[in-house]
Amino acid sequence: MNFFFGIKDNQINCELQIPLFQNKSLKLVNYNLYSIFPNNGLWEINKINDAKNSEFFIIKNNEISNDKIFFIAKDKDLIEYDSSKLQNFNSYTDTTPAYRANLKIDINEGGFSSYQSEYPFEMAVKNGSILSPINTLLDKTADKNYVFIKNIFVDPISKEFDLFLINFKERKVIKKYLIKTNYMNKIEIDKSYIDPEVYLFTKDYLGVPIFVNIKDKHISFEHTHPPHEYILSEDKFKLVNNVKRKFNEIILQENN
């Protein structure tokens, strides 16, 4: 299944659309919309009753927060719900191509941009690392550059972990940020860091890095591909792990 998410931010507004149909089917389903967030060490679920239009759930800015995620399910999917772990409630949103919830952001009296917000359950049950170049989707000429990093983790915890900007050529950590699990984290990237040799890297938790840049009220919003998307051969994970190992070595070297 997939979870869906939004962004709560004082500079941008956000709207999330979750369809009640699969992309290859005309059939509508009568599912409910739920929000879920970590609260005192447990997952708290709430049903949202007033977000439905004919074929979508439309979740407005006031319903969105950075620790809340959304999913669609039938009431019966939640019968054996255990609030100590995030669960795979159903497989309805497991589709090819991936189930698309439209996450649109906009700035007041300015531009707007959309991205496919989906976070597969399989990613939430794994530890791992994020590796992404930053200059493919950021822009030195922009007024502002941000990376939003969404993590969803199976345990209802808010745990801090490190996010690094690493200059791969110089084998050097150039900036370290503290971000947290089960949260939409926001970091502003200084223009001086936007360089082809600089990569964003985490070593403890997975997540989706989404890049935003704004200029003259025009806005761009897109995620980078995870490295294994570039390799279609069977040895893709071996190759990716080999590269990630080098980034881990740079961090270890800095710590020693």
């Binding site: 992309n23 005309l26 698309r100 822009d139 591909h225």
Partner: protein, 256 residues
Amino acid sequence: MKLYYKKIINSDFGIRIRNTLNISPVDMLTSELHSASVSDAFVWRTDNNFSTKIRFIDILNFFFEKEETTANILFYDNNFNYLKKLSFTKLKKLNEVIINKEFFGNKEGYGTFYIFHDLKNNEVQKELISNRCYVGFSKNDQHFSYVHGNLLARYNSSNNKNEIQSDIIKTSLIMNQNYKIQKYFNKNFNNEIFLTNPTSRIINFKIKRNSYSLKEGCSLIIDLKQDDIINIKSNCLFFRPIVFSYNSEYFDVHHG
């Protein structure tokens, strides 16, 4: 006998029959590819004061530590007429190309491009790679808004005398496939979809009551008028458009 049967049902014609009868349909097949550089069907446009920016990383350097790597980008117009080739003899970590009217000798229009890394000359013949790239669009010289590659289409096999092949994405004999875009279109905005035929076969498709046809490699931009939900009925099993939405001087671009 069993092997012979398997060979038939997994042949291109067998897959088209399966897709027609909806028996274990196949939308995309990369498992049969070996030693090739695969490209998405990326789109460019210079119509209506648009310009397009391509950004891609040197994946042979990043994953295989190859130096002075080479790649080609092939450009086609909307009728799949070959326009030009850009050859990179020494890729940078991040490579950037701006496509505007001047790039094509003052041509206003739209079409597709494909990027192929040179595996043979870079001594990574056995690999199967795909540069998913990021494509930015700017209107009236304003800020670029980016979208990633989303439609694997053509490949250049290192064993096959550099001949470019297609049909990674599969078709059926009749228009029995739906692709319903998982976005609730705002009727107050102007919306367009940009469709590309990623196959070597004719794609016939219908949106509402309008019928269209796209020959091999051709592309088409369709104005959506006053529709909030769009279903594309076709004979292609992975027919995902790029969406452009306009509001005043601002626009949004994303995959559908």
